[in-house]
């Protein structure tokens, strides 16, 4: 399109100044398929057990029954959105108790901090759902396609009926597991037997189908095809990890002091002047993250300890002591490398003590709160507009809304009394009352009732506070609310 002279002025367009243009491949890297080899040993066994327990809890918990009495769900763990209640065994939380939820999350976070500073990323390595389900999916993959070498051969082989059948079978089983995972999720939000049977007759709520569908897809993709990429690219935890772990934390560590210099070794060769690492690459082959633990601490490492099992097996074979890769601390490895005796591993350190103390404090507060939780709750909201009015006789009047919560399963009568400013008198809209003394307020079972209260006092009386006391005459439970009383001079 351009003129000839313009082209002549420029240099050869195929090689722009400054060398080769960046190639597409350089900008975007294709994922390298990882073929983790099956490891055998202590930690593999621990992971199988943890997998069985965590999956058992996840799939089984909604089916556990817990008798709470007539008219209340008997599911042990249930987030009942329809009636705005959360049940956890003996604990029953109302929306007003949301701070227990926050407290629970804070406790969980602190527990993660504590465990991480003691034992490194055991959460990532053993109990994270991403790890557990990926492990389960790899187990299925292995059942259909064989171990690492067989899987690599199969992927490189041309498509045959055999390959098709194996791949098809694997994905079908993956989808079934994914569906069970999504299906189990919705059981936590509805009565499990009802929603499970309603599911197949089309009687389950629409949200149940939606969430089951979404969870099915996420499980299938996260554990089936995305796997280690979730940990490396999507999960914030490996980043937070950097701030929580320290040189005192037990991490899966390659003991370079013992392993280096590494290299292949013939049987006839002596172990003198060389490290114990024979560069057999077993630790790399079993790694579900596809990394080399010998490169040191790295973000991708989920500390699943499978490389420990793999390495120990080899060490036994070549007649060297186990533990070339082991749970160890950075300072211990560094000390040995310098020829010093490593310091004793200290579980009690400033940060572990702080985490533990804070956890105990919050846990104690929550336990105390739950143990003394009342079945009545009164909240007084003062009118903001107008803050007060002057009555025709000169008295000052303030308006309040009393919100009464009855968490019991039968209707109750609460006794209200109001005290405070001099000459105080009060009335409740819609109730007969002489202005002083106790007034009976009915509240329905599981009810939240609002009462509008008008409190008046002498104009000149010193006044700052008005106290609303609500008492259950039968159980004696009492909730005292204080609110301010405003007048013109303030």
């Amino acid at each position: 399109m351009g003129s000839t002279t313009l082209i002549e002025q420029t240099t050869d367009l195929s090689t722009p100044p400054g060398g080769e243009p960046p190639r597409h491949e350089d900008l975007y890297a294709k994922r390298k398929q990882i073929y983790p080899k099956l490891a055998h040993g202590k930690f593999r066994m621990v992971k199988w057990i943890v997998m069985a327990v965590t999956l058992g809890v996840y799939y089984g918990l909604p089916w556990v029954r817990w008798n709470r009495g007539e008219g209340i769900p008997d599911q042990a763990v249930l987030a009942d959105f329809a009636s705005e209640k959360f049940y956890f065994f003996f604990i029953e939380l109302w929306p007003q108790d949301i701070h227990y939820m926050a407290g629970g999350l804070i406790l969980a976070a602190l527990l993660l901090f504590l465990v991480t500073s003691l034992l490194g990323r055991v959460w990532c390595g053993y109990t994270c759902p991403q790890t557990v389900w990926t492990d389960l999916y790899i187990w299925v993959e292995r059942a259909f396609e064989g171990d690492r070498a067989a899987r690599m051969r199969l992927d490189n082989a041309p498509w045959t009926a055999n390959k098709l059948a194996r791949k098809f079978g694997k994905h079908i089983v993956w989808l079934i597991i994914a569906f069970w995972t999504g299906g189990a999720f919705i059981l936590y939000w509805h009565d499990a037997p009802t929603v499970a049977s309603g599911w197949f007759t089309g009687d389950a709520p629409l949200t149940a189908y939606w969430f089951a569908g979404i969870l099915t897809l996420t499980t299938y993709f996260l554990a089936g095809t995305m796997r280690e990429q979730v940990c490396t690219y999507m999960c914030p935890w490996p980043r937070i990890q950097g701030a929580l772990t320290d040189e005192q934390a037990l991490n899966v560590t390659y003991r370079y002091d013992r392993g280096e210099p590494r290299g292949p070794k013939r049987k006839s060769e002596s172990w003198d002047n060389r490290g114990d690492c024979i560069d057999c690459n077993q630790c790399v082959q079993v790694c579900p993250m596809g990394i080399d633990i010998r490169d040191g601490e790295q973000l991708e490492c989920i500390h699943c300890a499978l490389c420990i099992d793999a390495c120990d097996e080899i060490m036994v074979k070549v007649g060297r002591p186990k533990g070339l890769i082991a749970y160890d601390t950075q300072i211990a490895v560094a000390a040995r490398n310098e020829g010093q005796t490593p310091p004793k591993h200290r579980l009690i350190r400033a940060r572990t003590v702080v985490y533990a103390v804070v956890m105990l404090a919050i846990g104690g507060l929550m336990a105390w709160g739950l143990a003394t939780k009342s079945t009545i709750e009164a909240n007084v909201l003062k009118d903001r507009s107008p803050p007060f009015v002057t009555l025709s006789d000169g008295r000052i009047q303030n308006g309040y809304t009393l919100k009464l919560v009855n968490k019991a399963s039968e209707p109750r009568t609460m006794l209200l009394s109001v005290s405070g400013p001099e000459g105080v008198s009060y009335k409740v809209i819609g109730m007969e009352h002489d202005g002083e003394g106790v007034l009976e307020l009915p509240v329905e079972a599981f009810g939240v009732d609002r009462y509008r209260i008008l409190v008046s006092a002498d104009a000149g009386a010193p006044r700052r506070q008005v106290i609303f006391t609500v008492r259950d005459g039968v159980t004696g439970e009492t909730d005292v609310n204080m609110s301010s009383f405003r007048g013109a001079e303030q």
Binding site: P22, L27, Y28, A29, V389, T390, G394, G399, G430
Partner: protein, 294 residues
Amino acid sequence: MTDETKDIDQYSGVETTGHSWDGIKELNNPLPRWWLYVWYMSIAWAIVYMILMPAIPALPGLGTNTKGLRGHSDRAEVAKAVTELKTARDAQSVVLLDAGLETIETDRTLQQFALAMGESAFGDNCATCHGAGGRGAIGYPALADDVWLWDGSLDGIEYTIRHGIRHDTDDGTRFSAMPAFGRDGLLKRSEVDDLAQYVLSLSGRSEDSDAVARAAPIFQQQCSTCHGENGTGDRTQGAPNLTDAEWLYGGRVADIEATIYNARNSHMPAWDDRLDDATIKAIAVYVHSLGGGE
């Protein structure tokens, strides 16, 4: 992009982005390719979205924005939602139609429903003048106190809402007219000033006893017909009680003088044809609950 400008990290052998933060550099590792695919999918989705949904604003000559194949309109959605809400509310508020105002106020369920409905309707329709919570303003009566110009009972409040005050087109409207004593020449300026002192004296606030004495016969002659011999007002005519601490148009001498000179005859519209019966009843119960219901 020449080799000289490339900054290679010594440890990893990977090119860095060349940016340095406190000596820390970022490796320029390739992005995962599936990210690129997600980006492509987003572009594809954007195109689908633009076809399905209103997406392109009005271009010159086009007159309006593109409507999209789905014909979606937020405005229509809102109108539909409002209609649905009104239908749902009407179904609920029908319980208020059959019940008397007294019953509504004493029945716990009806009361809570009416108060919630009344608060919302009051906020939409009444709070503009009467203020949030009926706090009132100069010239707009406070509804939270126990001072009532016309009627503070449930039925009286409902009547006022329905027919308004001095609302020309409503035959049942509450009506009275205070003469503009000064402007219309009924009283001399000095007499108006004396009367203001007299009105103040009714609540014990005047310091000019001479003026009060001069104005006493004028008050009996001109004012007592409506405001009463003792100035305690007359609710049948909406004549305010002049002896209390409540001053709708201000309680300073100048305010009272202005009121006598020019008169005050403010208006409230009739809501009978603007709000449905259930809403009016709910507002009546709500206003009655604000603080001074009789």
